[in-house]
Amino acid sequence: MKIDTILSKYEPKSENLIQILHDIQDHTEGNYLKEEDLEKVADYLKIPKSRVNGVVEFYSMFSKKPRGKYVIRLCKSPPCFVKGAFNMLDELKSQLEIDVNETTKDGLFTIETTSCLGVCDEAPVMSINNKIYGKLDSAKIKKIIENYRKGKSEI
């Protein structure tokens, strides 16, 4: 979707900034916010570019760096920590051969860590784009990644 089409869905009020940024990011290949788009948003809402940037930097779901097609966000908050989240992080890093906040060479996966996702009875938990995967272990992670490589999000 073109940026102008997205902007035209919203009234040009600064209160819509966060909703607009979500919309743009969701429709941008690479799951991120481009500098030139942020400038257009600032112009459209008649607010300084610094204010737009301040908001982008503040909220953890926004990224100014291109990311993979699938953004893996592993929870590292206390409930997942107790259930071995950091072992799962090592597992992800070794299976994808990248570090946190890096993207695989084929452009498919980015690993991020996140605060609590609110699915703690299934800890350890991660999300891939909007989908939640719980009760993780090494085998399950392997299978999930294999399936995504084949273009399937179901396990």
Partner: protein, 416 residues
Amino acid sequence: MKNEAKYENKIVLSNVGNIDPTNINDYIETRGYEAAKKIVSNEYTPLNVIDIIKNSGLRGRGGAGFPTGAKWEFTAKEKADKKFIVCNADEGEPGTFKDRLILEGDPHRILEGMIIAGYAVGAQKGFIYIRGEYSTAIERITNAIKDAYEKHYLGNSILGSSFNFDIEIKKGAGSYVCGEETSLIESIEGKRGNPRIKPPYPGQKGLWNYPTVVNNVETIANVAPILLNGADWFKSFGTEKSPGTKIFTLIGNVKNPGVVELPFGITLREIIFGFGGGISNDRKLKAIHLGGASGAVYDGSILDVPLDYDALKEKEGMLGSGAVLVMDEETDMRKYLKNVLEFFKHESCGQCVPCRIGTARLCEMADDIIEKGGKEVNIEYMKHLTDVMFKSSLCPLGQSVIMPVKSIFKYFNNEF
């Protein structure tokens, strides 16, 4: 759910799992919108509604336990061109997912509660602020709002009355501090979620400086049942000072993790060993982190304390969001402390110095404990730092670090 008969969900979760949340008629069949209809058709004055909520003794379920009726009354008394109702669905407290279940499983209950709140305080507009990670909840609430408009339960002259009420959804974008009411208000206004200095409280100057009631999802979910069944019915659950039920999320090293709604006065022994079936892998209980990351961490000595908002104040902790994180004997409390502090450091908004620098320093010292051992680190200084943060931080994020830190040092002193 395990042990279903014994641990039935009484008030808030009565519909969750039992109705189709995508069908407004399912909700209506469970006497849904009946309370709102009665109220806006002038069977009750706004003052009547506030009196009923005050008499019920309902307290805010977000964690602080502030009396809901009193909160409504402050805003009702304000004279202003506009007033707002905000439903706080930015559930970010680690270990908590009760609000998500309500939003996903009974979305119309929230809309009805907000309509009633709007009528009581004289607001014609409500916002539901849902954290961006809760995509299913966002979808369900969006559809519920659409269906409610189609039935004229929202909009102008709703439910056959002359009362107007609109509800809009706002999506968060990943920030724990936005669960704090003034940060949440800033975020609805499209800004960074930096908390405001209080007073003025949102009840006087909230959204765009208009009087605003901010209520947690679970609090709002109690409103329609109270109006339908009366304050006395509500008070028949729970304890004198904390009437009603509380949703607990039981997680960590337990056999049956999950969510359960129980009356106040229940003990952690009942929750962990009754509902939860005890510790997994036949291990022993070591620690319980109660109320989310910002609550206190206890050993087994807390198990038989009847839980309500006041009982835990004496124990230097809080019931908070109702999260019960269980840790077994294998847990390394030094590493756990570090993990909790990392959480606060990451989520500190950076606006006020005590919180920004305090959380970073505490993390460094927790690292030193793990690397060099507790004897090499000035633990008294760490406690002192949390005192400073408690006294001088701008919002509850920095203020509450004292609870996990001091309680871990108190109950698990032998590990440091």
